[in-house]
C-alpha cells in the first residue's frame, strides 16, 4: 500500500463534505459562544450553508465531475451527487419545518441543528461510500445523530422508548452488517466494491450479502425488518420523524444500488427472489396494517413501509429503467412525505396530539392545508396528476418489462388497499365536522415547506421530463452494466 500523499488527492471531490463539516462546527460554536442568540438564526444559517453546498453539488453534477479518493474508498459520481442533493434537499425542508417546532423542546435547542447537520454529513458520506468498510462506518456515523434526535423530547416517555428501541435495533443492525462484511471479506479477501464486482459468486459472498442486505433492510424499514419503525416514528419529535422517514432511506438506497446492483449485479438470479419477497411483504403488510391506525404518524409510518416495498420493485427489476424509477420514486416520496408531515406538525403544534381525529374538519379550519394534505396523500396513493402516480407507473413499467408479474399484481392490489386508508384520512379532513372550528394560522416557515412540497409533487406529476432526465443521467454508471 502506498503511503497517503495529500498532494495527489483532489480534495475538490471532497469539498461538499468538508464545507458541511465546517458548517456543522460553526453552528455549534455560535451556539456555545453566544448562548443568547436566537435559535431561529441558527436554522437560517444552516439552511443557507446547505443551500450553498447544494449549489456546488449542482455545479459538479452539471460538469459531470467524478473521481475516486483514498484508494477507492470514496467515490464521487453522478449517483453520489444525486443522493447528496436528495439528502440536502430533504434536510433543508426539515430544518424549515423545525423552526417553530423547536420551541416545544426545553433543552439543547441549538444542538438540535448541529445534530441534524452532523447526521446529514454522515449521509453525504454514505452516498459516496465505495467499499464495505466505509459503508459500515458511514452508516454508523449517520445513525449516531439520530439516536439523540429521536429522544429529544426527553420528558415524553414515548420519545425515550422510541430512542431505546431505535438504539437497540440499530446496534443489532450494525452487528449484522459487520458480520456480513466479514463473511464477504473471508470469502474473497477484499472489501473494495470494484474488486468484488470481478469475483465469482460463492456461498460465502451470497450469505454475507444477505446479512448486509438485512442490515440495510432495517435502515429502509422493509418487512420483516420494520419492527422499530412505527414506535420510533410515533415517539420521535415530528420533524425528526419526517427526516427519518426520508433522508436515511435515500442514503441507504445509494448504498443498496452500489452494493447490490453495481457490485453484485452479475449475481442477479441469486438475490432477486429475496428482493421480490421483501417487496411483496412490505407492500402488503404496510398497507394492511395502516388501515387500522388511529395515529397519523403511525399511519404514515406504515404507509412508508409500503412505499419502500414499491421502491424495491425497481430493485427487483434490476434494469437501468428500474434504477431510474427508484430515483424518481424517491423524489416523489420526498415531497409528498415531507409535505404530509409538515401538515401534521402544524396541526399537532395546536393540539399537541397526532391522532387522525385531530384532522377532523381541517377543510373548514384551513382550506389551504386541507387541500395540500389531500394532494400529498393522493400522491402517496399514486393518483394522477401527481408525482406518486408517475413514480408508481414508472416502477411498474420497469417490472413488467422484466416479467415480474407477481410483484406487479401484488403492487396493483396494494394501490387499491392504500387508497382506502388515505381516503379515510381525506374523509376526516373534508367530510367530518371539526370539534374546534377556529381557523388555523400557519407560520411562514411551515407554509414555505408546504408550498415547496406542493410544487414538487405537482411538478413531478405534470411535467416529469426534467426529473426523469435527471434520474437517467444520475444512473449513467449503470449504462453498460444493466439491461435496459
Amino acid at each position: 500500500m502506498t503511503p497517503l500523499n495529500l498532494a495527489d488527492i483532489d480534495l475538490s471531490l471532497l469539498a461538499p463534505e468538508l464545507w458541511m463539516t465546517l458548517l456543522a462546527c460553526v453552528v455549534l460554536s455560535i451556539d456555545f459562544a453566544f448562548p443568547k442568540v436566537n435559535k431561529r438564526s441558527l436554522a437560517y444559517l444552516s439552511m443557507a450553508g446547505m443551500g450553498l453546498i447544494s449549489l456546488q453539488l449542482v455545479y459538479y453534477f452539471a460538469s459531470a465531475k467524478s473521481g475516486l479518493l483514498f484508494n477507492g474508498m470514496f467515490a464521487l459520481d453522478a449517483l453520489a451527487i444525486f443522493f447528496k442533493l436528495f439528502v440536502l434537499l430533504a434536510t433543508i425542508l426539515i430544518v424549515l419545518s423545525s423552526v417553530d417546532y423547536i420551541n416545544k423542546i426545553k433543552f439543547f435547542r441549538g444542538e438540535y441543528y448541529f445534530l441534524l447537520l452532523f447526521t446529514v454529513l454522515g449521509m453525504m458520506f454514505m452516498a459516496s461510500a465505495n467499499d464495505l468498510l466505509s459503508i459500515y462506518i458511514t452508516l454508523e456515523f449517520s445513525t449516531f445523530g439520530f439516536y439523540i434526535l429521536v429522544t429529544y423530547l426527553r420528558e415524553d416517555p414515548r420519545s425515550n422508548e422510541a430512542g431505546i428501541k431505535f438504539f437497540i435495533l440499530g446496534v443489532l443492525t450494525s452487528a449484522l452488517i459487520i458480520y456480513g462484511i466479514s463473511l464477504i471479506y473471508g470469502a474473497t479477501g477484499t472489501i473494495l466494491l470494484s474488486h468484488l464486482a470481478q469475483m465469482k459468486p460463492s456461498v460465502g459472498v451470497i450469505i454475507g450479502l444477505m446479512f448486509v442486505f438485512i442490515g440495510l433492510g432495517y435502515k429502509i424499514g422493509a418487512v420483516p425488518f420494520h419492527a422499530w419503525i412505527p414506535d420510533v416514528y410515533e415517539g420521535a419529535p415530528t420533524p425528526v420523524t419526517s427526516f427519518l422517514s426520508i433522508a436515511p432511506k435515500g442514503a441507504a438506497f445509494a448504498i443498496i444500488l452500489r452494493v447490490i446492483l453495481l457490485t453484485f449485479g452479475g449475481m442477479r438470479s441469486d438475490w432477486t427472489w429475496f428482493i421480490v419477497g421483501l417487496s411483496a411483504l412490505s407492500m402488503t403488510y404496510g398497507n394492511i396494517v395502516a388501515i387500522a391506525q388511529k395515529n397519523m404518524k403511525r399511519l404514515l409510518a406504515y404507509s412508508g413501509i409500503a412505499q419502500i416495498g414499491n421502491i424495491l420493485i425497481g430493485l427487483a427489476a434490476g434494469t437501468r429503467m428500474g434504477v431510474d424509477s427508484i430515483l424518481f420514486y424517491l423524489l416523489a416520496y420526498l415531497f409528498a412525505n415531507i409535505g404530509a408531515f409538515a401538515v401534521v406538525i402544524i396541526v399537532s403544534n395546536l393540539t399537541a396530539k397526532d391522532d387522525i381525529e385531530t384532522l377532523a374538519g381541517l377543510n373548514r379550519r384551513s382550506p389551504f392545508l386541507a387541500f395540500s394534505l389531500l394532494i400529498f396523500l393522493l400522491s402517496l396513493a399514486g393518483v394522477p396528476p401527481l408525482g406518486g402516480f408517475i413514480a408508481k407507473l414508472y416502477i411498474f413499467t420497469a417490472a413488467v418489462n422484466q416479467n415480474l408479474f407477481f410483484l406487479v399484481i401484488v403492487g396493483l392490489i396494494n394501490v387499491v388497499i392504500s387508497m382506502y386508508y388515505y381516503l379515510v384520512v381525506v374523509k376526516k379532513i373534508y367530510i367530518s365536522e371539526p370539534t374546534d372550528p377556529t381557523p388555523i394560522s400557519v407560520s411562514p416557515a411551515l407554509q414555505a415547506v408546504v408550498y415547496i412540497s406542493l410544487i414538487g409533487v405537482l411538478a413531478l406529476g405534470i411535467y416529469p421530463k426534467p426529473f426523469i432526465d435527471w434520474s437517467v443521467s444520475a444512473t449513467g454508471i449503470f449504462a453498460n452494466l444493466l439491461p435496459r
Binding site: 393522493l378 393518483v383 387508497m419 373534508y430
Partner: protein, 539 residues
C-alpha cells in the same frame, strides 16, 4: 383578412386543448377566489364551461367527416424516455362524447347553483371531474388516456362524500353500528361516505386491472411507446395468441367495471343515489361512458382479432345488465336508485351495440351514449331538484308535485320519453340502430333488449306517477318550480339538444360513421373502400 384566417387556424389547431384546459384552468382560477364571493365563483365556473361548450359545438361542425380519421391532432413531447407524448386528437367516436361532457358540465354548474356549503371546492372538483372525462375522450396516447381516467375517480369521492346525501333507510336506522363494516353489504341503508368509498375502490380496482393490460401492451408491443396510433400498427401476432387474449380481457374487464357491465355494477346505483345532482349527471352521463369509450379505443382499436373472438362475451353479459338493472329498478322506492339502475340497464344496450360489431349497431351505440347522457342528465337534474325542494327521494312519500312545479314536470315527461326512446328524441335513433344492427347477429339477445325497453317504460312511468301526479302531500306545499333563468337554462339546453339531434341526426351519424367504419373494417379485415360502397345504403 389573413389575420382572421390565421386566427381561425389557430383556433382549429388548438381546439382540443381549449376544450380540455378551459375546464382545468377554470378549476385552478377558482382556487384563488375566496368562498365569501359565491357569485364570482359561479361566474368563473360558468365562464370556463361555456368556453368548452362553444368549442365542443364548433368541434362537431368543424369535424370533416368525409376525411374521417383523427383530426385536430396536437402533439407535444412529454417524457420521451418512456415513450409518452401529450397527444390529442378526435375521431368520429370521440366527438359526440366530448360534446356530451361539455353540455353536462355546463348544465351541471347551473343545476348546482343553490349549493351553499363550500361552493368553491364543489366547483373545483366538478370542473376537474369534467376535464378529466374530456381528457380521456381526446387522448391518443395510452398513458394519458389512463392518466385522465384515473384522475376522474378521486373528485367523485369528495363530491359524493361532502355534498351527497344519505339514503332514507340510513337516516332512519337506529342501529348504533350503522357505520360499521358489518353494513358493508346493506345496499339500501348506506351513508354517503360508504357510497363514495365503494365507488372509488371499485373504480380503482378496475383501473388497476386495465393498467396491467396497458403495461403489457407497452412492454410486449416491442416499440416501448404509449402512442395509440403507433401501437395500432403493431400486428397482433407480435404479442402471441395467448397474451393477446389476456391483454384483451384485462382491458375489457378493467374498463367495463366503470361502464358498468353486470356483474361489476354494484357500486354504480349506490354512487348515483348518494351523489349531488350535478355529480350524478356527470357520472351517469359521461363517466360511465369512459368504460365503453376506452374499450373501443384500446381493445377494438389495437386488437381487432381478439375483439372478434371475445366480444360475444359482452353480448352475453349485457343481458345481465339489461335484465337485472331493469328488474331491480322496477322495485326501487328511491328516485335516484330508479334512475341509477335504469342507467346500468341502459348501459347494457350500448354493450349490445358494441358486441354486434357492425357499422350500424356500433354507430347506434355511440349515438346512444350521447343520447343517454342527455336523457339521464335531465332525469338526475330533476330528481335533484325534487330532492332540494322536498329533502326526500322516497317515492311513496312524494306525490302530486306537478301542481307546484309544472315546468319541471313537463321537462321530466320529455326526459322519460327520451329515456325509453320515443321517436323524435335522439335516444330513439340510437336505440333503433342498435336493435337493427344487432338483430342479424344476436337475435335472441335483441328480443330480450326490446322487452327491456318495456320494463324501462314501466319503472319510469311508475316513478313519474309517484312523484308528480296523484294526491299532493300537505308537507310539500312550500315547494317551488324552476322559475329563474339559471334553473331553467340547463334543462332547456339538454331538452333542446335531445330533441334537435333526434329530429336531425344526420350530422351526428355521418360523424360517428366516419370513426366507426375504419374500426369495423379493421375488425372484419375488409378493404376500406369496398365496405363503404357496400354499406352506404344501410343508412
Amino acid at each position: 383578412m389573413s389575420g382572421e384566417r390565421n386566427k381561425e387556424e389557430l383556433m382549429t389547431q388548438y381546439l382540443l386543448s381549449i376544450i380540455l384546459f378551459s375546464l382545468f384552468f377554470g378549476g385552478t382560477v377558482l382556487m384563488f377566489i375566496p368562498n365569501s364571493r359565491p357569485m364570482l365563483v359561479r361566474g368563473v365556473a360558468v365562464g370556463a364551461s361555456s368556453i368548452s361548450l362553444l368549442a365542443s359545438f364548433y368541434l362537431l361542425y368543424a369535424f370533416d367527416y368525409q376525411q374521417g380519421g383523427f383530426q385536430f391532432v396536437e402533439r407535444y413531447q412529454w417524457a420521451p424516455n418512456i415513450g409518452i407524448s401529450f397527444y390529442l386528437g378526435v375521431d368520429g367516436i370521440a366527438v359526440p362524447l366530448v360534446l356530451a361532457s361539455s353540455i353536462l358540465i355546463f348544465a351541471g354548474i347551473f343545476v348546482s347553483w343553490h349549493i351553499q356549503d363550500r361552493t368553491k371546492e364543489f366547483y373545483i372538483f366538478l370542473l376537474i371531474l369534467a376535464a378529466a372525462t374530456v381528457g380521456v375522450y381526446v387522448s391518443l396516447d395510452l398513458f394519458f388516456l389512463y392518466f385522465f381516467y384515473e384522475m376522474s375517480v378521486i373528485p367523485m369521492y369528495l363530491l359524493i362524500g361532502v355534498w351527497g346525501s344519505h339514503t332514507k333507510n340510513y337516516l332512519e336506522s337506529k342501529d348504533p353500528n350503522k357505520d360499521s363494516p358489518r353494513f358493508f353489504f346493506n345496499f339500501t341503508a348506506n351513508s354517503k361516505e360508504y357510497a363514495a368509498m365503494k365507488l372509488v375502490l371499485f373504480l380503482s380496482a378496475g383501473a388497476m386491472v386495465a393498467l396491467l393490460g396497458i403495461l403489457l401492451i407497452y412492454s410486449r408491443s416491442g416499440i416501448y411507446s404509449f402512442d395509440l396510433i403507433a401501437l395500432s400498427k403493431v400486428p397482433e401476432g407480435q404479442y402471441g395468441k395467448m397474451l393477446v387474449s389476456v391483454i384483451w380481457l384485462l382491458v375489457f374487464f378493467g374498463f367495463a367495471s366503470i361502464a358498468p357491465l353486470w356483474p361489476m355494477h354494484s357500486w354504480s346505483p349506490v354512487g348515483h343515489a348518494s351523489a349531488p345532482a350535478a355529480t350524478s349527471m356527470l357520472h351517469a352521463g359521461v363517466l360511465m361512458k369512459l368504460g365503453h369509450f376506452s374499450i373501443i379505443r384500446v381493445a377494438f382499436f389495437l386488437f381487432p382479432e381478439a375483439t372478434r373472438e371475445w366480444m360475444p362475451l359482452a353480448a352475453l353479459l349485457c343481458i345481465g345488465s339489461i335484465v337485472y338493472g331493469g328488474l331491480v329498478a322496477l322495485f326501487q322506492r328511491d328516485t335516484k336508485y330508479v334512475i341509477g339502475y335504469s342507467s346500468s340497464s341502459h348501459m347494457g344496450y350500448i354493450f349490445l351495440g358494441m358486441a354486434a360489431l357492425n357499422t350500424i349497431s356500433l354507430t347506434g351505440a355511440v349515438l346512444y351514449m350521447f343520447a343517454h347522457a342527455l336523457a339521464t342528465g335531465l332525469l338526475f337534474a330533476m330528481a335533484g331538484w325534487v330532492y332540494d325542494q322536498t329533502h326526500t327521494r322516497d317515492i311513496p312519500s312524494l306525490g302530486g308535485l306537478s301542481k307546484k312545479m309544472p315546468f319541471v314536470t313537463g321537462a321530466f315527461i320529455v326526459a322519460v320519453a327520451a329515456s325509453f326512446g320515443l321517436p323524435l328524441t335522439v335516444n330513439f335513433v340510437g336505440e333503433l340502430m342498435i336493435v337493427v344492427g344487432s338483430w342479424e347477429v344476436y337475435p335472441k339477445t335483441t328480443i330480450i333488449a326490446v322487452l327491456g325497453i318495456c320494463v324501462t317504460l314501466c319503472y319510469l312511468f311508475l316513478m313519474m306517477r309517484g312523484v308528480f301526479f296523484g294526491e299532493m302531500k300537505a308537507a310539500y306545499a312550500h315547494v317551488r318550480d324552476a322559475t329563474p333563468w339559471h334553473d331553467r337554462l340547463p334543462l332547456i339546453l339538454m331538452l333542446a339538444c335531445s330533441l334537435y339531434y333526434g329530429i336531425f341526426p344526420s350530422r351526428f351519424i355521418h360523424v360517428i360513421r366516419s370513426g366507426v367504419i375504419p374500426l369495423i373494417d379493421r375488425i372484419h379485415k375488409i378493404a376500406p373502400l369496398l365496405s363503404q360502397a357496400g354499406q352506404a345504403g344501410g343508412f
